[in-house]
């Protein structure tokens, strides 16, 4: 498990190398300045120690030139930190289009994962190496946080909305998964492992656990039992309510404007349908708030998404936080 170099954790994702490089750069600068300052101080302290009890050294007023110098140099260095750090961050917070989606629901104190193909896991996540993975995350109760040190990723999971993050594992292995936002009694045990497998192995694992219903299928079932179908049509083709086919990622015409139908929007449409009314329809859809847990909402979402997205999905502008808060 431990890598050869004991100061950094295992590096197992496409982004971990970038983060480490920046970390080394900052460490270098920090060590340099620490040594510089300590060196200067120690030198002065010895060189200019008090030799006679009452000596008075000549006052020196200061020097604008020097002061400007040591304001500008740190500023320039700091800006290099900023540009580099923000660059990696910005890139890493845009989930790629072709990512494999995995739904994550946190609750005190466990993680539930569900693959689009139906496999469910608790506190363990199996993923293939070399595939981009996007986590769509929700929580049943308080704020949690998915943290995988080996991938250098971390993002809070916030009540009332979806947050996302992504990674691409580069090395098969077992890596720590931690909850990194304090969430109560067993916060320190709310974790487990991310198991990265070779693609073929992963396929085997998938088929070995294939007896579960996919979230979309489960969502479809609920769509019937909850009575969504009575308004939206048996297959989401529309009726008293608008058609849901091709809804995902399309631009919806609302009475109050336009909006992209992302995950957050669909979630809100189910939980707080009054907030945003589709143009041409009345506010008749009942709210399902309080009747569904996050897992069920995720399944409905998966079903609506499975009805197809009308447009080629443009790269979302604000990842990690793409989501909208629910009303």
């Amino acid at each position: 498990m431990q890598s050869g170099f004991p100061f950094i954790p295992e590096s197992a994702s496409t982004q971990s190398g970038n983060v480490d490089a920046l970390y080394f750069y900052l460490s270098g600068v920090t060590i340099f300045f620490t040594l510089l300052i300590s060196g200067i101080i120690i030198f002065f302290v010895i060189r200019y120690r008090r030799r006679t009890p009452y000596e008075i050294p000549r006052p020196i007023a200061g020097s604008h030139r020097l002061e400007t110098l040591w304001s500008v140099i740190p500023f320039v260095i700091a800006m290099s930190f900023f540009v580099w750090g923000a660059g990696i961050y910005f890139k890493n917070s845009r989930p790629p289009k072709d990512a494999l989606e995995i739904y994550v629901v946190g609750k005190q104190w466990m993680w539930k994962f569900q693959h689009t193909t139906g496999q469910r896991e608790i506190n363990e996540l199996h993923v293939p190496v070399g595939r981009k993975i996007k986590l769509i995350m929700a929580t049943e109760d308080v704020i949690h946080d998915v943290f995988v040190p080996a991938f250098r990723i971390k993002a809070d999971v916030v009540p009332g909305r979806y947050t996302t993050q992504w990674f691409e594992a580069t090395k098969p292995g077992r890596y720590h998964l931690f909850c990194a936002e304090y969430c109560g009694m067993n916060h320190s045990q709310m974790g487990g492992w991310v198991i990265v497998m070779e693609p073929t192995e992963f396929e085997n694992w998938l088929s070995g656990n294939a007896n579960q219903m996919s979230p979309a299928a489960a969502g479809q079932q609920m769509f019937q039992t909850l009575g969504c179908a009575s308004c939206h049509g048996a297959n989401g083709e529309g009726g008293r309510g608008p058609a849901l086919v091709g809804l995902f990622n399309s631009q919806v015409q609302l009475t109050s404007g336009q909006m992209k139908a992302d995950e957050g929007y669909i979630r809100e449409s189910i939980l707080n349908p009054q907030a945003k009314i589709v143009a041409g329809y009345g506010p008749i859809m009942p709210t399902f708030q309080g009747q569904l847990n996050e897992e069920q909402i995720v399944q409905l979402l998966a079903y609506v998404k499975s009805l197809g997205s009308s447009q080629p999905q443009p790269a979302p502008a604000k990842p990690v936080v793409t989501s909208a808060a629910t009303k």
Partner: protein, 98 residues
């Protein structure tokens, strides 16, 4: 500090202005203006009223520079609180609908 004593007629004038402002703002609120102008009008009138109170009832107009600075800094910090918080919310997709 100034020993400036503000004449009574100034107080009366300000008082009347404030009353007129109140009437105006209620009147304006009941009319439908395009875009967000209802909000703009309401807040502009409120700000004018507040400014009048601060300048005349609270004597800032006749006060030392220090008092001006104090008032200004309060507004400045309030602006920081708003501006930077909204730098988050306005760049989330939450506010896409207008």
């Amino acid at each position: 500090m100034s020993e400036h004593i503000v004449p009574v007629r100034v107080y009366i004038a300000i008082f009347l202005a404030l009353m007129v402002g109140t009437a105006l703002t209620v009147f304006a609120a009941l009319h439908d203006f395009p875009w967000q102008f209802n909000t703009v009008i309401a807040l502009t009138i409120a700000s004018i009223k507040a400014t009048l109170v601060v300048l005349y009832f609270m004597h800032v107009r006749y006060s030392s520079r220090l008092v001006w600075v104090i008032v200004a800094s309060a507004l400045f910090w309030l602006a920081i609180l708003f501006a930077l918080t909204f730098s988050d919310y306005w760049t989330r997709s939450w506010f896409q609908v207008t």
